[in-house]
């Protein structure tokens, strides 16, 4: 059974805004799935449709095997929205307890799980301070604690490391990995592509309301990419003596042999890694090219 499944999901807002244009997506249980896309691509709308904060125009979607909007299922889902605003008059602990109560948890469960999650996100020292006195990063951690308080089967996180310092990011990443080990599926929206690449089992690139590519970061990267540089004139029709090419190991060996046979001094030869950022930017440029 999948954690999230959508088929042909569409959302049209008033004013002719077509935010989702037939989104097809599958997120498996126990995996961390990353969604990337530029501002306005429809990522937040997709999340809101899944959690019934926004109503879909057409298409189907299920959460944990149930149609979206099935209330008992929502009790098994954790959520942290982008730019969330928790009540500033509550302390960190009160906030986590408040959202736990809204999830229908018993008093004993609430208190036990709240303290546990506050400890996991490293906020025990400030749990009794008002949220109004927290930094952005501290608020983000408390937000993360409330999203995991009900031991959810699925957690949807929209920019969870927004405003968090590098050390905090690493800690949050560790929390996510720990939750995955417990079998929780995590759906992650983030602009930080390197972060997604590090932590996600699979990613999808969303552009202009639809999913353009999805798969594991390795799948998306495709064939290996190499860089070869040597001194002297370019060989075999190349225009530069420092160039990048795609191919397997044999192909790379062939390029290297050609340079050596021609008495060129090789100054650089290495397998280049294709980052998610490269892929993403290439996809965005393609889309912009198509549109123009």
């Amino acid at each position: 059974m999948t954690a999230i499944s959508t088929q042909g999901l569409e959302k049209r807002y008033g004013g002719g805004i077509h935010a989702l244009r037939g989104v097809d997506l599958e997120v498996e249980r126990g995996e961390i799935f990353g969604l990337i896309g530029p501002n306005g691509a429809g990522k937040s709308t997709l999340v809101k449709v899944l959690l019934t904060i926004v109503r879909r125009s057409s298409g189907t979607a299920t959460l944990l095997g149930q149609p979206v909007g099935h209330r008992p299922t929502l009790a098994k889902v954790g959520f942290l929205p982008e730019h969330h605003r928790m009540p500033r008059y509550l302390t960190g602990r009160q906030a986590v307890l408040y959202y736990a109560r809204l999830l229908g948890m018993t008093k004993r469960e609430r208190e036990k799980r709240s303290d546990e999650m506050i400890d996991i996100v490293g906020m025990s020292h400030a749990a009794h301070r008002k949220l109004g006195t927290y930094s952005k990063g501290m608020q983000q951690r408390i937000g993360l604690a409330q999203s995991f308080v009900n031991e959810p089967e699925l957690v949807v996180l929209d920019e969870p490391t927004d405003g968090v310092d590098p050390v905090g990011r690493v800690e949050i990443r560790e929390v996510l990995l720990r939750m995955r080990e417990r079998g929780t599926a995590i759906f992650l929206n983030s602009h930080l592509l390197s972060e997604l690449e590090t932590v996600c089992d699979r990613v999808a690139i969303m552009l202009d309301g639809s999913i353009r590519r999805q798969g594991t970061p390795a799948d998306l990267a495709g064939a290996p990419r190499w860089r070869l540089a040597y001194e002297g004139e370019p060989l075999n029709g190349h225009t530069h003596s420092d160039f990048i090419f795609d191919g397997d190991n044999q192909e790379a060996q062939r390029h290297l042999d050609t340079a050596r046979k021609a008495q060129r001094v090789v100054t650089h030869f290495a397998r280049e890694s294709i980052s998610l950022e490269d892929l993403f930017l290439a996809e965005v440029r393609d889309t912009q090219g198509d549109q123009s």
Partner: protein
């Protein structure tokens, strides 16, 4: 139930984080404290918890004046003015932002993603927000109840009627505030529009009452004209005590030396005066018809609106016996040494003179009508707000 409890706890924390809430609570507590500092014994009144004492014939334990003044102070000043108008206005200022904040992006998202019906979330938040009014009213009611027991030795449990009536009054205005806040998501817009709409309610009520009052007066005038009881002489006479001596014999008057009253008497018996009376009657009837029409239109307009003034009148009727004068009359009488037993005659006369014109005509409508139409207005207003909240994308 857990949703309601969560909302009550959350809203209580929210209210206690607001400065105005504490201001209202502090003023209410101060008033109750001041009231409790006044004590009475068999000889008179003591102030500042017995520090100062003065003998008084009427303001002492066991007198009716004391009970009436105390009760009227509660219903007319503490509830009728402070809790109903001043504290309600401060309450609206303080709570106008509750729903716009509640619906702000990032805040409402987290609530809507929880396994709760949107309507349940909304209703729970609305009920919890009424704490702003409920807490000061409860404080005042209980404070006065205890103060009265201490000062007069009696338990006046009727005082507790103020709680549901003031809450109904406040919630009907707050429902408007919530509807506007839900649609516009602006605290300023919801406050301003609520105050404007409150003003319109009062204006409609004033028009209805004034037209009704005018109609009553004209009917009395018509009756007098029909009975031939409207001559300037008689009209003047109604306003003064009868002359100490018998009226002059008309047969023996000196025509060259008539006083003005005698001239009027002669004029009234002429054929012209009969014509004048008919014309006056026609004019009055036309005026009465216009007043009746205005009252009817105002009454139709008011039918679906909350009946704020009438609710407070109903509360006063529950708390104070019908023949009790209002606080200012009772206090004035007591200070001038008049026992309140005279209230039935003096009070009714004084009411006509001093009561606000809006209160002069008692609305001839049942409790069920006043409370029912107000509750219906609130239900419809809230229904619209819930409908908007439930269907909207956030």
């Amino acid at each position: 139930m857990s949703l309601l409890i969560a909302m009550f706890i959350d809203t209580w924390r929210e209210l206690t984080s607001r400065f105005l809430f504490w201001i209202v609570l502090a003023i209410s507590a101060f008033i109750v404290l001041m009231l409790s500092s006044v004590g009475f014994d068999e000889t008179g009144i003591s102030l500042w918890w017995g520090i100062s004492h003065s003998d008084h014939e009427l303001l002492r334990r066991g007198t009716r004046n004391l009970e009436v003044v105390y009760r009227a102070f509660f219903s007319d000043v503490l509830v009728g003015f402070w809790l109903t108008y001043a504290a309600t206005f401060l309450g609206l200022i303080s709570t106008a932002s509750v729903f716009p904040d509640f619906l702000s992006g990032g805040g409402v998202d987290m609530l809507l993603a929880k396994p709760r019906r949107r309507a349940s979330i909304f209703i729970a938040k609305f009920l919890a927000s009424l704490l702003f009014a409920a807490v000061p009213v409860t404080l005042v009611c209980l404070g006065v109840l205890i103060s009265m027991r201490m000062a007069l030795g009696i338990w006046e449990f009727e005082i507790l009627y103020a709680l549901p009536y003031v809450l109904l009054f406040y919630s009907s205005l707050f429902a408007v505030c919530v509807l506007v806040g839900t649609v516009t998501r602006s605290a300023l817009a919801s406050l301003l529009l609520t105050v404007v709409i409150w003003g319109l309610f009062l204006a409609a009520s004033a028009v209805e009452s004034t037209a009704g009052f005018a109609y009553d007066q004209i009917q009395q005038d018509i009756e007098r004209v029909q009975n031939g009881d409207d001559s300037p002489r008689k009209r003047r006479r109604r306003g003064r005590p009868p002359p100490p001596v018998a009226e002059a014999d008309l047969d023996e008057f000196d025509r060259d030396n008539l006083d003005s009253e005698s001239e009027e008497l002669i004029a009234e018996s002429s054929p012209d005066s009969v014509f004048d009376r008919a014309a006056r009657l026609e004019s009055l009837e036309e005026f009465a018809a216009n007043a009746a029409f205005t009252e009817k239109v105002a009454s139709w307009v008011r039918w679906p609106l909350p009946k704020g003034i009438e609710i407070i009148d109903l509360m006063r009727e529950r708390i104070t016996p019908e023949d009790d004068p209002n606080f200012f009359i009772a206090f004035g009488m007591t200070m001038s040494g008049q026992p309140i037993e005279l209230a039935e005659t003096v009070g009714s006369l004084a009411d006509q003179v001093t009561d606000n014109i809006l209160n002069a005509r008692k609305v001839r409508q049942s409790d069920a009508y006043v409370l029912g139409t107000t509750a219906l207005f609130q239900l419809i207003t809230l229904g619209l707000a819930i409908g908007w909240f439930s269907r909207r994308d956030y």
